[in-house]
């Protein structure tokens, strides 16, 4: 049981390049999330998905796109990379069953460190 797996671990992009950050989970979780973490800061939500085929914007979605074609995979696409997108990106997943007593503990991958130069 690998949990949440992110690839690549490190990447350097030139301004204007594009790339896809991969995220896959093997826990059959319905919810998946993408966060970015800037140095010395907390995590900011970029996009999230409540199930296959459903995605929605978080706090900082500009410059990013996502898709959720399967329960397991939630790739994050960067188009026209900019220096402001230099950050550490974390993918997370959780099982949300709904109801008053339900919990939504998010489990995180190890992160992708991205530098845009």
């Amino acid at each position: 049981n690998a949990g949440v797996t992110q690839t690549p671990k490190f990447r350097i992009l030139k301004i204007g390049q594009s790339m896809t950050l991969q995220c896959t989970q093997d826990m059959n979780h319905n919810y998946m999330y993408w966060y970015r973490q800037d140095p010395g800061m907390g995590l900011k939500l970029i996009y999230y998905s409540v199930g296959a085929g459903i995605t929605d914007k978080g706090e900082v979605p500009n410059g990013y796109n996502v898709s959720r074609s399967t329960t397991e995979d939630f790739p994050l696409r960067l188009e026209l990379a900019a220096p402001s997108q230099t950050s550490v990106y974390f993918c997370a997943s959780s099982h949300w069953a709904g109801g008053v007593d339900a919990k939504n503990i998010q489990y995180f991958g190890a992160g992708t460190r991205l530098s845009v130069l």
Binding site: V4, Y31, Y33, Y35, G40, M41, G42, L43, K44, L45, Y48, V50, D56, G58, F90, A92, S94, W96, K103, N104, I105, Q106, Y107, F108, G109, A110, G111
Partner: protein, 113 residues
Amino acid sequence: GESVGLHLPTLSVQEGDNSIINCAYSNSASDYFIWYKQESGKGPQFIIDIRSNMDKRQGQRVTVLLNKTVKHLSLQIAATQPGDSAVYFCAEHSSGSARQLTFGSGTQLTVLP
């Protein structure tokens, strides 16, 4: 304690002492809170959670206290060990349908030998 800003709050404790990490949250409608631990170069790891209908919850060497009146959360670590050195985040759960987490900026805990 935690605060929003560019400088990560720090806490240094002697090995074997107890640690208290504080967090102020903003949304009075938040109904669920989580503490995460993040070691250098790794993703956040779940430590303990608490619902808003509780004021205290204990785990193994950790205790979370919730004061809804002043919107304050604390994490107590008993007999702090070198392996406890990390950044600790509190996160509050929004009551929206997506159950999003809002994270604080974190506190860097350093355990001194």
